[in-house]
Subunit: 257 residues, 3 copies
Amino acid sequence: MAACCRIIFEAEGTRAREVSGLEGSFRYISEDAVIGEGTVLGFGCVVMDGVVIGEGVTVGHHVIIHEGTRIGDGAWIGDNAVLGRQPRAGVSVTRAVSVMPPLVIGKRALVGTSAVIYAGSVVGEEAMVADLAAVREDCVIGRRVRIGRCAVIGCNVRIGEGSVVQAGALVTSDSRIEEEVFIGPGVYTCNDKYMSRREFPLRGPVIRRGASVGTNSTLLPGVVIGRGAVVGAGAVVTRDVPDGCTVMGNPARPFPA
Amino acid sequence: MAACCRIIFEAEGTRAREVSGLEGSFRYISEDAVIGEGTVLGFGCVVMDGVVIGEGVTVGHHVIIHEGTRIGDGAWIGDNAVLGRQPRAGVSVTRAVSVMPPLVIGKRALVGTSAVIYAGSVVGEEAMVADLAAVREDCVIGRRVRIGRCAVIGCNVRIGEGSVVQAGALVTSDSRIEEEVFIGPGVYTCNDKYMSRREFPLRGPVIRRGASVGTNSTLLPGVVIGRGAVVGAGAVVTRDVPDGCTVMGNPARPFPA
Amino acid sequence: MAACCRIIFEAEGTRAREVSGLEGSFRYISEDAVIGEGTVLGFGCVVMDGVVIGEGVTVGHHVIIHEGTRIGDGAWIGDNAVLGRQPRAGVSVTRAVSVMPPLVIGKRALVGTSAVIYAGSVVGEEAMVADLAAVREDCVIGRRVRIGRCAVIGCNVRIGEGSVVQAGALVTSDSRIEEEVFIGPGVYTCNDKYMSRREFPLRGPVIRRGASVGTNSTLLPGVVIGRGAVVGAGAVVTRDVPDGCTVMGNPARPFPA
């Protein structure tokens, strides 16, 4: 990556021309930012101190890139995305919040319109975080993972290579998702057995390699979904599901029984 | 519609005055855009090449309107909305993505704050797409349809006149929804029977005229909900529901039995 | 609060310096706005007529603050948030929409990235509305309440002090939630028994003090969840739940039976 700050091109769709400054494009770009050759930035972008953007990156309009964020070559960032914001606890939140290291976005990754990704997380190469999705701090999103529209990924989550989290799903904080897992639309996971009423060590579910979790199902705190297991749509999973097993219903039971 | 480019008025709530350029309002408006009389644009808007905005349209602050988008007379576009973006497949997505024709927004339609609507879709007259909702490419949203907050409409969806999709619902790609259908909040629909494990021709549900689908229910791939049928809240619908029938439960069964 | 308009500091993370105008930061700030000492505003903010921002407030980049909104001392507003927009009914919406008084945000409240909060509502001191959440008009959100990511709060909702609405939940219009209530992720509530098919006085649920409503459960219109009651994850609640009672299943039944 060439350390060529301010070699900026107009965004796709406008007549590409090199611009030397901010005039007329309403951008703020820190003088401490580094932007690679062939990268284009849309109107109204905000690029803060210490940001490093690779070569051939497309950054949409009104994108906000916070301090120190690193974006790999060939990535594509949708309009209005907010990258690398620090977490900020509400007054009544119990989980301590510390200053996170900068966000890292891998090569050829794709970030959707108005997606929000926090500092302290790593988004793998060729991964996708779709429109209006949120990924909190301290997450590791593997290579080629896809996070759907309006999905929410809590903090301290691991998602293995090639897994999919579909639209509107919630992967709660402290979840562990292995490789090639399919999490359907609107799946909700829990990490707090007593819903804030008692002390409880928060534990998200563990979903093993190749498992499939059906649309709009619910996973209780700490349940383990085994390798290649299948959770039917709308199931409410209250116990561990063994490797290769299929469960359905509320509460979920093995199928065939 | 008068082809009077650059007849722009300040947004509602500021002191309306005609402005001849961009100074002080931080807008980018392509010289190839056409903006009708009486239309107001907020601060920070981006209007790309070939956009055509009708008369008496209100465009909020920071709205981004991509190439060629057409907006009908009297429409109202909320702050931060992104209109007409092209689809962009992640590296690992199987569905091919092609360049879509421009988005068309009908007369007097209403688009909410931070809503995202893709190129290749048509939003009917007097339809509403509420705040933070997303509508993908190749959709036809009928007249007076209402799409609720944070709802997601996949690609290649048809929604007939007067139908309602409430907040947080997901209408999956390739769904067919007829007229006067009610889809409650948080309804999730599927189109992939094998959750990516086998080849499967993706099939969303078909929801016939006047059917009502209750809150937080789940519709399996390809199910047909008959005319005037009722799906109870929280039901998991695994089979077709005949015209006029009511179903409830997990799995859903006819009621009364 | 000092009535010291235009005492503005650059946002955190840029080198703080007093700025006397808008040059280079692409902000619009009405001359009728009042901004307290020690308040910082990010790039691209829009602050409309009559807005009053207290002392020591942090306003992120591209934030839009509509007419008359009041923000208390020490509040923190995330990037792209839209505060105080007026409701705007679609053509086919039955609920009448009137002009609402300005939004009030309490001291030390926290508003997330791309959150949308309407005029006519009050957000209490030290409350939190997380990223991508929406709060409609005519709501009273109590002190230290937390609204999670992508959650939607309908209009005319009351939420008592210290209650929590987790990510992706929908609190439908006309709901009443008392103090110290826990509403889990993805809970959906209804207010329309006949799903628009007949006249029905819209009635959201009533959730009494200290009740806990589990992840991805569904509450039918007008149900009352008693004091300290517990609704299990994935339950579909069709009847009132007495004080202290636990219910589970679809339909929800007392547990132990």
